[in-house]
Amino acid sequence: MNSAVTKLGEFIGQALEVLWRNGMRSLLTMLGLIIGVGSVIAILAVGDSTTKSVLNILSPYSLASAFIFPKQQQPDPLLAQIRYDDADRVRRAVPDAKAVLPIMSLPMETRVNHQDKTVRVITAGAGQGTDTTPLAEGRLFSDQDLSAHRRVAILSAQARHELLGDEGSAIGRFVRLNGSDFEVVGVQAPPINQGLLGAGTTGLITVTIPYTLIPELGYTFVFGLTIVAPDGSSVTKVANEAIAALKKIHGSRAQYEERDIKQLNEGIQRVFGILTGVIGVVAGISLIVGGVGIMNIMLVSVTERTREIGIRKAIGATRGDIVLQFFIEALLLCLVGGLIGLIIGVVLAELVIHVWIKQLTPNIISFGWGQIIAVALLFSAGVGVLFGTYPAVRASYLNPIEALRYE
Protein backbone atom coordinates (compact mmCIF):
# COMPACT_ATOMS: atom_id res chain seq x y z
CA MET A 1 0.00 0.00 0.00
CA ASN A 2 2.72 2.40 1.04
CA SER A 3 4.77 1.62 -2.02
CA ALA A 4 1.67 2.10 -4.20
CA VAL A 5 1.30 5.63 -2.84
CA THR A 6 4.98 6.36 -3.47
CA LYS A 7 4.57 4.98 -6.96
CA LEU A 8 1.57 7.23 -7.58
CA GLY A 9 3.52 10.25 -6.39
CA GLU A 10 6.34 9.25 -8.70
CA PHE A 11 3.94 8.93 -11.63
CA ILE A 12 2.59 12.41 -10.93
CA GLY A 13 6.13 13.78 -10.75
CA GLN A 14 7.07 12.12 -14.04
CA ALA A 15 3.89 13.36 -15.71
CA LEU A 16 4.52 16.94 -14.60
CA GLU A 17 8.04 16.63 -15.96
CA VAL A 18 6.76 15.46 -19.35
CA LEU A 19 4.17 18.25 -19.48
CA TRP A 20 6.75 20.85 -18.48
CA ARG A 21 9.27 19.57 -21.01
CA ASN A 22 6.72 19.93 -23.81
CA GLY A 23 5.62 23.30 -22.43
CA MET A 24 4.35 24.93 -25.61
CA ARG A 25 2.56 21.81 -26.77
CA SER A 26 0.98 21.27 -23.36
CA LEU A 27 -0.26 24.85 -23.31
CA LEU A 28 -1.76 24.61 -26.79
CA THR A 29 -3.35 21.28 -25.90
CA MET A 30 -4.88 22.81 -22.81
CA LEU A 31 -6.09 25.89 -24.64
CA GLY A 32 -9.45 24.41 -25.58
CA LEU A 33 -10.04 23.31 -22.03
CA ILE A 34 -8.81 26.64 -20.63
CA ILE A 35 -11.34 28.48 -22.80
CA GLY A 36 -14.07 25.98 -21.95
CA VAL A 37 -13.57 26.05 -18.20
CA GLY A 38 -12.93 29.80 -18.29
CA SER A 39 -16.21 30.54 -20.02
CA VAL A 40 -18.23 28.12 -17.89
CA ILE A 41 -16.80 29.71 -14.75
CA ALA A 42 -17.28 33.26 -15.99
CA ILE A 43 -20.90 32.59 -16.94
CA LEU A 44 -21.75 30.83 -13.69
CA ALA A 45 -20.06 33.54 -11.63
CA VAL A 46 -21.69 36.45 -13.47
CA GLY A 47 -25.08 34.73 -13.41
CA ASP A 48 -24.84 33.98 -9.72
CA SER A 49 -23.66 37.45 -8.81
CA THR A 50 -26.25 39.19 -11.01
CA THR A 51 -29.18 37.22 -9.65
CA LYS A 52 -28.16 37.87 -6.07
CA SER A 53 -27.44 41.54 -6.69
CA VAL A 54 -30.66 42.22 -8.59
CA LEU A 55 -32.75 40.56 -5.92
CA ASN A 56 -30.94 42.65 -3.37
CA ILE A 57 -32.16 45.87 -5.04
CA LEU A 58 -35.64 45.21 -3.78
CA SER A 59 -36.18 46.45 -0.27
CA PRO A 60 -37.70 44.24 2.41
CA TYR A 61 -40.67 46.60 2.28
CA SER A 62 -41.37 45.92 -1.36
CA LEU A 63 -40.84 42.19 -0.91
CA ALA A 64 -43.84 42.23 1.43
CA SER A 65 -46.09 44.36 -0.74
CA ALA A 66 -48.43 43.63 -3.63
CA PHE A 67 -49.95 45.89 -6.25
CA ILE A 68 -53.63 45.41 -7.11
CA PHE A 69 -55.25 47.00 -10.16
CA PRO A 70 -58.25 46.38 -12.44
CA LYS A 71 -57.74 43.97 -15.29
CA GLN A 72 -57.36 45.54 -18.71
CA GLN A 73 -59.96 43.32 -20.40
CA GLN A 74 -63.17 42.96 -18.50
CA PRO A 75 -66.96 43.11 -19.02
CA ASP A 76 -67.49 46.46 -17.36
CA PRO A 77 -64.32 48.53 -16.90
CA LEU A 78 -66.12 51.43 -15.28
CA LEU A 79 -67.58 49.16 -12.64
CA ALA A 80 -64.14 47.87 -11.63
CA GLN A 81 -62.46 51.27 -11.26
CA ILE A 82 -60.87 51.61 -7.83
CA ARG A 83 -61.81 54.65 -5.76
CA TYR A 84 -59.59 56.46 -3.28
CA ASP A 85 -61.98 55.52 -0.48
CA ASP A 86 -61.68 51.82 -1.31
CA ALA A 87 -58.32 51.73 0.49
CA ASP A 88 -59.90 52.26 3.91
CA ARG A 89 -62.69 49.76 3.27
CA VAL A 90 -60.27 47.08 2.06
CA ARG A 91 -58.08 47.79 5.07
CA ARG A 92 -61.00 47.08 7.37
CA ALA A 93 -61.94 43.90 5.46
CA VAL A 94 -58.41 42.50 5.50
CA PRO A 95 -57.07 42.61 9.05
CA ASP A 96 -53.81 40.85 8.04
CA ALA A 97 -52.75 43.79 5.84
CA LYS A 98 -50.35 46.13 7.59
CA ALA A 99 -51.26 48.94 5.23
CA VAL A 100 -53.43 49.59 2.18
CA LEU A 101 -52.41 52.64 0.14
CA PRO A 102 -54.01 54.08 -2.98
CA ILE A 103 -51.56 54.62 -5.84
CA MET A 104 -51.69 57.36 -8.41
CA SER A 105 -49.38 58.23 -11.25
CA LEU A 106 -50.21 61.32 -13.25
CA PRO A 107 -48.60 64.05 -15.31
CA MET A 108 -48.53 67.57 -13.89
CA GLU A 109 -47.50 70.89 -15.32
CA THR A 110 -44.75 73.08 -13.97
CA ARG A 111 -42.77 76.08 -15.24
CA VAL A 112 -39.02 76.23 -15.33
CA ASN A 113 -37.31 79.33 -16.73
CA HIS A 114 -40.59 80.47 -18.31
CA GLN A 115 -41.03 77.13 -20.07
CA ASP A 116 -43.79 74.64 -19.48
CA LYS A 117 -42.61 71.22 -18.41
CA THR A 118 -44.48 68.01 -17.67
CA VAL A 119 -43.39 65.94 -14.69
CA ARG A 120 -44.59 62.55 -13.56
CA VAL A 121 -46.11 62.65 -10.13
CA ILE A 122 -46.50 59.47 -8.12
CA THR A 123 -47.84 58.91 -4.65
CA ALA A 124 -46.33 57.14 -1.66
CA GLY A 125 -46.99 56.51 1.99
CA ALA A 126 -44.87 57.21 5.06
CA GLY A 127 -41.35 55.80 5.11
CA GLN A 128 -42.03 54.00 1.87
CA GLY A 129 -39.70 53.20 -0.97
CA THR A 130 -39.99 50.48 -3.57
CA ASP A 131 -36.31 50.06 -4.09
CA THR A 132 -33.17 50.49 -2.06
CA THR A 133 -32.13 53.67 -3.85
CA PRO A 134 -30.93 55.83 -0.97
CA LEU A 135 -31.83 59.47 -0.51
CA ALA A 136 -29.11 61.92 -1.44
CA GLU A 137 -30.49 64.34 1.13
CA GLY A 138 -33.57 64.95 3.29
CA ARG A 139 -36.03 62.33 4.45
CA LEU A 140 -38.94 60.12 3.44
CA PHE A 141 -42.52 61.17 4.30
CA SER A 142 -43.54 61.07 7.96
CA ASP A 143 -46.94 60.06 9.38
CA GLN A 144 -47.54 63.75 10.17
CA ASP A 145 -46.93 64.69 6.53
CA LEU A 146 -49.73 62.34 5.57
CA SER A 147 -52.26 63.02 8.33
CA ALA A 148 -51.79 66.80 8.08
CA HIS A 149 -52.09 66.68 4.28
CA ARG A 150 -48.84 68.62 3.96
CA ARG A 151 -47.86 69.59 0.46
CA VAL A 152 -44.41 68.02 0.50
CA ALA A 153 -42.42 66.29 -2.25
CA ILE A 154 -39.47 63.98 -2.83
CA LEU A 155 -37.62 64.65 -6.08
CA SER A 156 -35.78 62.19 -8.25
CA ALA A 157 -32.22 63.21 -9.02
CA GLN A 158 -33.30 64.04 -12.56
CA ALA A 159 -36.22 66.16 -11.31
CA ARG A 160 -33.95 68.03 -8.94
CA HIS A 161 -31.55 68.73 -11.77
CA GLU A 162 -34.27 69.91 -14.16
CA LEU A 163 -36.49 71.84 -11.76
CA LEU A 164 -34.11 73.33 -9.18
CA GLY A 165 -30.63 73.15 -10.72
CA ASP A 166 -27.63 71.60 -9.07
CA GLU A 167 -26.67 74.48 -6.75
CA GLY A 168 -26.90 74.18 -2.95
CA SER A 169 -29.41 72.14 -0.99
CA ALA A 170 -32.85 71.43 -2.40
CA ILE A 171 -34.41 70.85 1.01
CA GLY A 172 -36.90 73.55 1.99
CA ARG A 173 -37.21 74.90 -1.54
CA PHE A 174 -40.48 74.69 -3.46
CA VAL A 175 -41.65 73.21 -6.73
CA ARG A 176 -44.88 74.47 -8.31
CA LEU A 177 -47.15 71.74 -9.66
CA ASN A 178 -50.49 72.51 -11.35
CA GLY A 179 -50.48 75.91 -9.70
CA SER A 180 -49.71 74.96 -6.09
CA ASP A 181 -46.39 74.88 -4.23
CA PHE A 182 -44.85 71.73 -2.77
CA GLU A 183 -42.00 71.86 -0.25
CA VAL A 184 -39.08 69.57 -1.08
CA VAL A 185 -38.23 67.29 1.88
CA GLY A 186 -36.04 64.73 0.12
CA VAL A 187 -33.96 64.09 -2.98
CA GLN A 188 -33.16 60.63 -4.30
CA ALA A 189 -29.63 59.60 -5.20
CA PRO A 190 -28.62 59.59 -8.88
CA PRO A 191 -29.91 56.74 -11.01
CA ILE A 192 -28.12 53.51 -10.47
CA ASN A 193 -30.92 51.21 -11.36
CA GLN A 194 -32.57 53.27 -14.02
CA GLY A 195 -35.08 51.40 -16.08
CA LEU A 196 -34.30 48.05 -14.52
CA LEU A 197 -37.56 46.12 -14.13
CA GLY A 198 -39.31 49.48 -14.00
CA ALA A 199 -38.61 49.52 -10.30
CA GLY A 200 -36.27 52.45 -10.35
CA THR A 201 -37.85 55.88 -10.43
CA THR A 202 -34.83 58.07 -9.95
CA GLY A 203 -33.88 58.45 -13.58
CA LEU A 204 -37.10 60.14 -14.68
CA ILE A 205 -38.36 63.59 -13.84
CA THR A 206 -40.42 62.13 -11.07
CA VAL A 207 -41.91 63.89 -8.08
CA THR A 208 -43.31 61.80 -5.26
CA ILE A 209 -46.06 63.32 -3.08
CA PRO A 210 -48.08 61.92 -0.13
CA TYR A 211 -51.03 59.81 -1.24
CA THR A 212 -53.40 61.64 1.13
CA LEU A 213 -53.28 64.60 -1.28
CA ILE A 214 -55.07 62.65 -4.02
CA PRO A 215 -58.65 63.83 -3.19
CA GLU A 216 -57.54 67.46 -2.79
CA LEU A 217 -55.96 67.35 -6.21
CA GLY A 218 -59.39 66.43 -7.54
CA TYR A 219 -59.16 62.71 -8.13
CA THR A 220 -61.71 60.13 -7.01
CA PHE A 221 -60.40 57.16 -8.92
CA VAL A 222 -56.89 55.78 -8.48
CA PHE A 223 -54.65 53.41 -10.46
CA GLY A 224 -54.66 50.71 -7.88
CA LEU A 225 -53.83 49.79 -4.32
CA THR A 226 -50.63 48.81 -2.62
CA ILE A 227 -51.15 46.12 -0.01
CA VAL A 228 -48.43 45.62 2.59
CA ALA A 229 -48.36 42.17 4.13
CA PRO A 230 -46.55 41.26 7.39
CA ASP A 231 -43.83 39.50 5.40
CA GLY A 232 -42.88 38.23 1.96
CA SER A 233 -44.36 34.77 2.42
CA SER A 234 -47.92 35.98 3.12
CA VAL A 235 -48.07 38.53 0.28
CA THR A 236 -50.10 36.46 -2.14
CA LYS A 237 -52.61 35.35 0.48
CA VAL A 238 -53.18 38.90 1.76
CA ALA A 239 -53.45 40.25 -1.79
CA ASN A 240 -56.10 37.67 -2.67
CA GLU A 241 -58.08 38.64 0.42
CA ALA A 242 -57.89 42.26 -0.73
CA ILE A 243 -59.18 41.32 -4.18
CA ALA A 244 -62.07 39.48 -2.56
CA ALA A 245 -62.84 42.61 -0.56
CA LEU A 246 -62.77 44.78 -3.71
CA LYS A 247 -65.18 42.40 -5.44
CA LYS A 248 -67.54 42.72 -2.50
CA ILE A 249 -67.49 46.50 -2.99
CA HIS A 250 -67.67 46.59 -6.80
CA GLY A 251 -69.65 43.44 -7.51
CA SER A 252 -68.49 40.02 -8.62
CA ARG A 253 -68.25 41.07 -12.28
CA ALA A 254 -65.33 43.37 -11.49
CA GLN A 255 -62.01 41.71 -12.13
CA TYR A 256 -58.65 42.54 -10.57
CA GLU A 257 -55.18 41.27 -10.80
CA GLU A 258 -52.38 41.19 -8.35
CA ARG A 259 -48.63 41.58 -8.79
CA ASP A 260 -46.18 41.07 -6.03
CA ILE A 261 -42.45 41.14 -5.95
CA LYS A 262 -42.36 37.53 -4.94
CA GLN A 263 -43.62 36.56 -8.37
CA LEU A 264 -41.18 38.99 -9.88
CA ASN A 265 -38.47 37.47 -7.72
CA GLU A 266 -39.23 34.00 -8.95
CA GLY A 267 -39.45 35.32 -12.49
CA ILE A 268 -36.04 36.92 -12.23
CA GLN A 269 -34.52 33.76 -10.82
CA ARG A 270 -36.10 31.65 -13.51
CA VAL A 271 -34.98 33.93 -16.33
CA PHE A 272 -31.43 34.14 -15.04
CA GLY A 273 -31.44 30.41 -14.42
CA ILE A 274 -32.49 29.66 -18.00
CA LEU A 275 -30.02 32.18 -19.42
CA THR A 276 -27.18 30.77 -17.36
CA GLY A 277 -28.21 27.26 -18.34
CA VAL A 278 -28.34 27.96 -22.08
CA ILE A 279 -25.04 29.81 -22.19
CA GLY A 280 -23.60 27.17 -19.88
CA VAL A 281 -24.50 24.44 -22.37
CA VAL A 282 -22.73 26.33 -25.15
CA ALA A 283 -19.69 26.73 -22.92
CA GLY A 284 -19.97 23.04 -22.04
CA ILE A 285 -19.70 22.16 -25.72
CA SER A 286 -16.41 24.05 -25.91
CA LEU A 287 -15.34 21.95 -22.95
CA ILE A 288 -16.00 18.79 -24.94
CA VAL A 289 -14.12 20.23 -27.90
CA GLY A 290 -11.23 20.93 -25.55
CA GLY A 291 -11.43 17.36 -24.28
CA VAL A 292 -11.29 15.94 -27.78
CA GLY A 293 -8.18 18.06 -28.40
CA ILE A 294 -6.57 16.56 -25.33
CA MET A 295 -7.47 13.03 -26.41
CA ASN A 296 -6.01 13.71 -29.83
CA ILE A 297 -2.70 14.90 -28.44
CA MET A 298 -2.58 12.03 -25.97
CA LEU A 299 -3.03 9.57 -28.86
CA VAL A 300 -0.23 11.31 -30.74
CA SER A 301 1.88 11.15 -27.61
CA VAL A 302 1.22 7.41 -27.23
CA THR A 303 2.27 6.80 -30.84
CA GLU A 304 5.37 8.94 -30.47
CA ARG A 305 6.35 7.10 -27.35
CA THR A 306 5.63 3.60 -28.63
CA ARG A 307 9.26 2.64 -28.16
CA GLU A 308 9.30 4.02 -24.64
CA ILE A 309 6.21 1.95 -23.86
CA GLY A 310 7.96 -1.12 -25.31
CA ILE A 311 11.02 -0.51 -23.15
CA ARG A 312 8.93 -0.04 -20.04
CA LYS A 313 6.97 -3.21 -20.70
CA ALA A 314 10.10 -5.27 -21.45
CA ILE A 315 11.59 -4.07 -18.18
CA GLY A 316 8.57 -5.29 -16.28
CA ALA A 317 5.91 -2.56 -16.30
CA THR A 318 2.44 -4.08 -16.08
CA ARG A 319 -0.48 -2.90 -18.18
CA GLY A 320 -1.79 -1.11 -15.12
CA ASP A 321 1.50 0.79 -14.80
CA ILE A 322 1.23 1.99 -18.40
CA VAL A 323 -2.45 2.94 -18.06
CA LEU A 324 -1.69 4.87 -14.90
CA GLN A 325 1.24 6.71 -16.49
CA PHE A 326 -0.74 8.04 -19.45
CA PHE A 327 -3.97 8.50 -17.54
CA ILE A 328 -2.23 10.67 -14.97
CA GLU A 329 -0.63 12.72 -17.72
CA ALA A 330 -4.02 13.41 -19.30
CA LEU A 331 -5.62 14.11 -15.94
CA LEU A 332 -2.90 16.54 -14.91
CA LEU A 333 -3.08 18.24 -18.28
CA CYS A 334 -6.80 18.76 -17.66
CA LEU A 335 -6.41 19.86 -14.05
CA VAL A 336 -3.69 22.37 -14.88
CA GLY A 337 -5.81 23.61 -17.79
CA GLY A 338 -8.83 23.78 -15.50
CA LEU A 339 -6.87 25.78 -12.95
CA ILE A 340 -5.74 28.30 -15.56
CA GLY A 341 -9.31 28.40 -16.88
CA LEU A 342 -10.61 29.00 -13.37
CA ILE A 343 -8.29 31.97 -12.88
CA ILE A 344 -9.19 33.44 -16.27
CA GLY A 345 -12.90 32.83 -15.69
CA VAL A 346 -12.87 34.52 -12.29
CA VAL A 347 -10.92 37.51 -13.59
CA LEU A 348 -13.36 37.79 -16.49
CA ALA A 349 -16.35 37.51 -14.17
CA GLU A 350 -15.02 40.17 -11.80
CA LEU A 351 -14.45 42.45 -14.77
CA VAL A 352 -17.97 41.99 -16.12
CA ILE A 353 -19.50 42.37 -12.68
CA HIS A 354 -17.63 45.54 -11.84
CA VAL A 355 -17.97 47.21 -15.21
CA TRP A 356 -21.47 46.20 -16.21
CA ILE A 357 -23.46 44.83 -13.28
CA LYS A 358 -22.22 47.72 -11.15
CA GLN A 359 -24.35 50.02 -13.31
CA LEU A 360 -27.48 48.09 -12.43
CA THR A 361 -27.16 47.91 -8.71
CA PRO A 362 -25.08 49.66 -6.07
CA ASN A 363 -24.59 46.67 -3.82
CA ILE A 364 -22.87 43.84 -5.64
CA ILE A 365 -23.08 40.47 -4.03
CA SER A 366 -20.22 38.28 -5.13
CA PHE A 367 -20.68 34.74 -6.45
CA GLY A 368 -20.23 31.61 -4.34
CA TRP A 369 -16.53 30.72 -4.49
CA GLY A 370 -16.81 27.18 -3.22
CA GLN A 371 -19.36 26.29 -5.84
CA ILE A 372 -17.30 27.88 -8.64
CA ILE A 373 -14.08 26.09 -7.71
CA ALA A 374 -15.92 22.79 -7.31
CA VAL A 375 -17.43 23.17 -10.77
CA ALA A 376 -14.05 23.99 -12.36
CA LEU A 377 -12.33 21.01 -10.74
CA LEU A 378 -15.21 18.67 -11.46
CA PHE A 379 -15.47 19.67 -15.10
CA SER A 380 -11.76 19.48 -15.85
CA ALA A 381 -11.31 16.21 -13.96
CA GLY A 382 -14.37 14.88 -15.76
CA VAL A 383 -12.91 15.80 -19.14
CA GLY A 384 -9.61 14.21 -18.09
CA VAL A 385 -11.25 10.93 -17.10
CA LEU A 386 -13.52 10.92 -20.15
CA PHE A 387 -10.87 11.66 -22.74
CA GLY A 388 -7.73 10.40 -21.01
CA THR A 389 -8.83 6.83 -20.50
CA TYR A 390 -8.92 5.69 -24.11
CA PRO A 391 -5.36 6.76 -25.07
CA ALA A 392 -4.01 5.29 -21.82
CA VAL A 393 -5.75 1.95 -22.32
CA ARG A 394 -4.61 1.89 -25.92
CA ALA A 395 -1.02 2.46 -24.80
CA SER A 396 -1.27 -0.40 -22.33
CA TYR A 397 -2.37 -2.86 -25.02
CA LEU A 398 0.67 -2.23 -27.23
CA ASN A 399 2.58 -5.42 -27.93
CA PRO A 400 6.04 -4.98 -26.40
CA ILE A 401 7.80 -6.88 -29.22
CA GLU A 402 6.32 -4.65 -31.90
CA ALA A 403 6.69 -1.56 -29.74
CA LEU A 404 10.41 -2.24 -29.34
CA ARG A 405 10.80 -2.55 -33.08
CA TYR A 406 9.01 0.79 -33.65
CA GLU A 407 11.20 3.49 -35.12
Binding site: S3, R312, I315
Partner: protein, 235 residues
Protein backbone atom coordinates in the same frame (compact mmCIF):
# COMPACT_ATOMS: atom_id res chain seq x y z
CA UNK B 1 22.95 -30.66 -9.95
CA UNK B 2 20.84 -27.51 -9.63
CA UNK B 3 17.70 -26.91 -11.63
CA UNK B 4 18.22 -25.21 -15.02
CA UNK B 5 17.34 -21.52 -15.25
CA UNK B 6 15.97 -21.91 -18.76
CA UNK B 7 14.38 -25.18 -19.80
CA UNK B 8 12.97 -25.46 -23.34
CA UNK B 9 11.20 -28.68 -24.28
CA UNK B 10 10.11 -29.16 -27.88
CA UNK B 11 9.12 -25.50 -28.20
CA UNK B 12 7.42 -24.40 -31.44
CA UNK B 13 6.17 -21.00 -32.42
CA UNK B 14 3.79 -20.37 -35.29
CA UNK B 15 2.85 -16.88 -36.45
CA UNK B 16 -0.30 -16.38 -38.45
CA UNK B 17 -0.04 -13.49 -40.84
CA UNK B 18 -3.37 -13.40 -42.58
CA UNK B 19 -3.87 -16.87 -44.06
CA UNK B 20 -0.19 -17.69 -44.11
CA UNK B 21 1.28 -19.62 -41.21
CA UNK B 22 4.92 -18.98 -40.53
CA UNK B 23 6.63 -21.60 -38.41
CA UNK B 24 9.40 -19.64 -36.73
CA UNK B 25 10.42 -22.44 -34.34
CA UNK B 26 9.78 -26.11 -35.04
CA UNK B 27 10.59 -27.89 -31.80
CA UNK B 28 13.54 -26.53 -29.89
CA UNK B 29 14.85 -28.18 -26.76
CA UNK B 30 17.75 -27.11 -24.56
CA UNK B 31 18.55 -26.19 -20.98
CA UNK B 32 20.69 -23.42 -19.52
CA UNK B 33 22.08 -23.92 -16.04
CA UNK B 34 22.89 -21.13 -13.58
CA UNK B 35 26.23 -19.50 -14.30
CA UNK B 36 26.31 -20.43 -17.96
CA UNK B 37 27.30 -18.04 -20.75
CA UNK B 38 25.49 -19.06 -23.93
CA UNK B 39 25.56 -17.54 -27.40
CA UNK B 40 22.61 -18.24 -29.70
CA UNK B 41 23.63 -17.98 -33.34
CA UNK B 42 22.00 -18.34 -36.69
CA UNK B 43 21.34 -16.52 -39.95
CA UNK B 44 18.43 -14.14 -40.21
CA UNK B 45 15.16 -16.06 -40.43
CA UNK B 46 16.55 -18.90 -38.34
CA UNK B 47 14.17 -18.05 -35.48
CA UNK B 48 16.70 -16.62 -33.06
CA UNK B 49 14.71 -13.41 -32.49
CA UNK B 50 11.59 -15.48 -31.82
CA UNK B 51 13.56 -17.63 -29.39
CA UNK B 52 14.86 -14.49 -27.70
CA UNK B 53 11.32 -13.11 -27.26
CA UNK B 54 10.21 -16.44 -25.77
CA UNK B 55 13.11 -16.63 -23.33
CA UNK B 56 12.40 -12.99 -22.42
CA UNK B 57 8.75 -13.76 -21.60
CA UNK B 58 7.60 -11.24 -24.17
CA UNK B 59 5.77 -14.02 -25.97
CA UNK B 60 4.46 -17.52 -25.26
CA UNK B 61 5.27 -20.72 -27.16
CA UNK B 62 2.57 -22.16 -29.47
CA UNK B 63 3.39 -25.73 -28.37
CA UNK B 64 5.95 -27.31 -26.09
CA UNK B 65 6.91 -25.95 -22.73
CA UNK B 66 9.29 -23.30 -21.49
CA UNK B 67 10.19 -23.11 -17.83
CA UNK B 68 11.99 -20.10 -16.42
CA UNK B 69 13.32 -20.83 -12.93
CA UNK B 70 10.92 -23.76 -12.82
CA UNK B 71 7.83 -21.68 -13.69
CA UNK B 72 5.87 -22.76 -16.77
CA UNK B 73 5.53 -19.54 -18.81
CA UNK B 74 2.48 -20.83 -20.74
CA UNK B 75 0.36 -20.81 -17.58
CA UNK B 76 1.18 -17.21 -16.68
CA UNK B 77 -1.15 -14.23 -17.19
CA UNK B 78 0.07 -10.98 -18.78
CA UNK B 79 0.34 -9.51 -15.32
CA UNK B 80 2.43 -12.46 -14.09
CA UNK B 81 4.65 -12.33 -17.18
CA UNK B 82 5.34 -8.65 -16.47
CA UNK B 83 6.27 -9.59 -12.92
CA UNK B 84 8.61 -12.32 -14.23
CA UNK B 85 10.32 -9.90 -16.61
CA UNK B 86 10.73 -7.53 -13.71
CA UNK B 87 12.17 -10.03 -11.26
CA UNK B 88 13.97 -12.67 -13.30
CA UNK B 89 15.14 -11.07 -16.55
CA UNK B 90 17.49 -8.32 -17.54
CA UNK B 91 17.38 -7.10 -21.14
CA UNK B 92 20.31 -5.66 -23.11
CA UNK B 93 19.32 -4.57 -26.62
CA UNK B 94 21.26 -3.83 -29.77
CA UNK B 95 19.84 -0.29 -29.87
CA UNK B 96 20.41 0.23 -26.11
CA UNK B 97 16.74 1.25 -25.64
CA UNK B 98 17.28 3.81 -22.92
CA UNK B 99 14.65 6.44 -22.17
CA UNK B 100 15.82 9.59 -23.92
CA UNK B 101 15.93 12.79 -21.89
CA UNK B 102 16.19 10.74 -18.72
CA UNK B 103 19.44 10.63 -16.76
CA UNK B 104 21.55 7.45 -16.64
CA UNK B 105 20.78 6.90 -12.97
CA UNK B 106 17.03 7.16 -13.51
CA UNK B 107 17.18 4.82 -16.50
CA UNK B 108 18.97 2.28 -14.36
CA UNK B 109 16.51 2.79 -11.50
CA UNK B 110 13.45 2.24 -13.72
CA UNK B 111 12.96 -1.48 -12.91
CA UNK B 112 13.24 -0.67 -9.21
CA UNK B 113 10.55 1.96 -9.68
CA UNK B 114 8.17 -0.64 -11.06
CA UNK B 115 9.19 -2.99 -8.26
CA UNK B 116 8.27 -0.30 -5.74
CA UNK B 117 11.78 -0.08 -4.27
CA UNK B 118 12.37 3.08 -2.24
CA UNK B 119 16.14 2.86 -2.11
CA UNK B 120 16.53 2.89 -5.85
CA UNK B 121 18.75 5.88 -6.41
CA UNK B 122 21.56 4.52 -4.24
CA UNK B 123 21.25 1.08 -5.81
CA UNK B 124 21.28 2.56 -9.32
CA UNK B 125 24.41 4.56 -8.52
CA UNK B 126 26.11 1.42 -7.23
CA UNK B 127 25.12 -0.48 -10.40
CA UNK B 128 26.52 2.28 -12.62
CA UNK B 129 29.77 2.18 -10.66
CA UNK B 130 29.96 -1.56 -11.23
CA UNK B 131 29.84 -1.07 -15.02
CA UNK B 132 32.46 1.67 -14.85
CA UNK B 133 30.18 4.71 -15.24
CA UNK B 134 30.30 6.02 -11.68
CA UNK B 135 31.32 9.45 -12.94
CA UNK B 136 28.54 9.97 -15.46
CA UNK B 137 25.41 9.08 -13.57
CA UNK B 138 23.50 12.28 -14.31
CA UNK B 139 24.26 12.33 -18.03
CA UNK B 140 21.47 11.74 -20.48
CA UNK B 141 21.74 9.09 -23.20
CA UNK B 142 22.45 11.71 -25.89
CA UNK B 143 25.40 12.93 -23.83
CA UNK B 144 26.93 9.44 -23.70
CA UNK B 145 28.84 7.42 -26.31
CA UNK B 146 27.39 4.18 -27.69
CA UNK B 147 29.58 2.07 -25.42
CA UNK B 148 28.59 4.14 -22.41
CA UNK B 149 24.91 3.86 -23.30
CA UNK B 150 25.24 0.09 -23.53
CA UNK B 151 26.88 0.06 -20.10
CA UNK B 152 23.93 2.01 -18.73
CA UNK B 153 21.61 -0.59 -20.30
CA UNK B 154 23.66 -3.39 -18.73
CA UNK B 155 23.49 -1.69 -15.33
CA UNK B 156 19.71 -1.46 -15.77
CA UNK B 157 19.57 -5.17 -16.69
CA UNK B 158 21.50 -6.09 -13.54
CA UNK B 159 19.70 -3.84 -11.08
CA UNK B 160 17.07 -6.41 -10.04
CA UNK B 161 19.62 -9.24 -9.73
CA UNK B 162 17.94 -11.23 -12.52
CA UNK B 163 18.24 -14.98 -13.03
CA UNK B 164 19.20 -14.40 -16.66
CA UNK B 165 20.75 -11.49 -18.53
CA UNK B 166 19.39 -11.56 -22.09
CA UNK B 167 21.49 -9.71 -24.64
CA UNK B 168 20.21 -9.22 -28.19
CA UNK B 169 23.14 -8.32 -30.48
CA UNK B 170 24.66 -6.25 -27.66
CA UNK B 171 27.62 -5.13 -29.78
CA UNK B 172 25.73 -4.71 -33.07
CA UNK B 173 25.83 -0.92 -32.95
CA UNK B 174 29.37 -0.61 -31.57
CA UNK B 175 32.85 -0.46 -33.10
CA UNK B 176 35.16 -3.37 -32.39
CA UNK B 177 37.17 -1.67 -29.65
CA UNK B 178 34.04 -0.64 -27.77
CA UNK B 179 32.55 -4.08 -28.40
CA UNK B 180 35.62 -5.59 -26.82
CA UNK B 181 34.98 -3.51 -23.70
CA UNK B 182 31.39 -4.74 -23.49
CA UNK B 183 32.58 -8.36 -23.89
CA UNK B 184 35.06 -7.80 -21.10
CA UNK B 185 32.25 -6.55 -18.91
CA UNK B 186 30.10 -9.59 -19.80
CA UNK B 187 32.92 -11.94 -18.94
CA UNK B 188 33.40 -10.30 -15.59
CA UNK B 189 29.65 -10.46 -14.84
CA UNK B 190 29.68 -14.15 -15.81
CA UNK B 191 32.70 -14.75 -13.60
CA UNK B 192 30.71 -13.16 -10.78
CA UNK B 193 27.99 -15.77 -11.33
CA UNK B 194 25.51 -14.09 -13.69
CA UNK B 195 23.84 -16.32 -16.27
CA UNK B 196 24.11 -14.70 -19.71
CA UNK B 197 22.29 -15.61 -22.91
CA UNK B 198 23.43 -13.60 -25.92
CA UNK B 199 21.97 -13.61 -29.41
CA UNK B 200 24.45 -12.71 -32.13
CA UNK B 201 25.31 -13.46 -35.72
CA UNK B 202 28.95 -12.49 -35.24
CA UNK B 203 31.29 -15.48 -34.79
CA UNK B 204 33.99 -13.43 -33.09
CA UNK B 205 31.55 -12.12 -30.51
CA UNK B 206 30.00 -15.57 -29.99
CA UNK B 207 33.40 -17.03 -29.16
CA UNK B 208 33.43 -15.00 -25.94
CA UNK B 209 30.69 -17.30 -24.66
CA UNK B 210 31.25 -20.72 -23.11
CA UNK B 211 28.67 -22.45 -25.27
CA UNK B 212 27.10 -21.85 -28.67
CA UNK B 213 23.61 -22.93 -29.77
CA UNK B 214 23.18 -22.69 -33.55
CA UNK B 215 19.73 -22.37 -35.09
CA UNK B 216 18.67 -22.91 -38.67
CA UNK B 217 15.11 -22.85 -40.01
CA UNK B 218 13.61 -23.00 -36.55
CA UNK B 219 15.62 -25.96 -35.34
CA UNK B 220 18.73 -26.39 -33.18
CA UNK B 221 21.44 -27.67 -35.51
CA UNK B 222 24.36 -27.48 -33.13
CA UNK B 223 24.73 -27.12 -29.38
CA UNK B 224 28.34 -27.33 -28.20
CA UNK B 225 30.84 -25.80 -25.79
CA UNK B 226 33.27 -23.27 -27.28
CA UNK B 227 36.58 -25.00 -27.62
CA UNK B 228 38.82 -22.03 -28.19
CA UNK B 229 37.08 -19.38 -26.13
CA UNK B 230 38.19 -15.78 -26.64
CA UNK B 231 39.03 -14.51 -23.19
CA UNK B 232 38.49 -10.81 -23.11
CA UNK B 233 41.03 -9.27 -20.80
CA UNK B 234 39.55 -8.41 -17.46
CA UNK B 235 40.44 -4.83 -16.68
Amino acid sequence: MSEPVVLMEDVAKIYEIGDIKVQALRGVSFAVDPGEYVAIMGPSGSGKSTLMNLIGCLDKPSTGSYRLDGVDVATQSDQQLAAMRLAKLGFVFQGFNLLARTSAVRNVALPLFYAGDRDREAKAKAALTRVGLGGRIYHRPNELSGGEQQRVAIARALINSPSVVLADEPTGNLDSTTAEGIMTLFRRLNDEGHTIIMVTHDDDIAKHAKRIIRLRDGLVVEDAPVEQRTLASVE
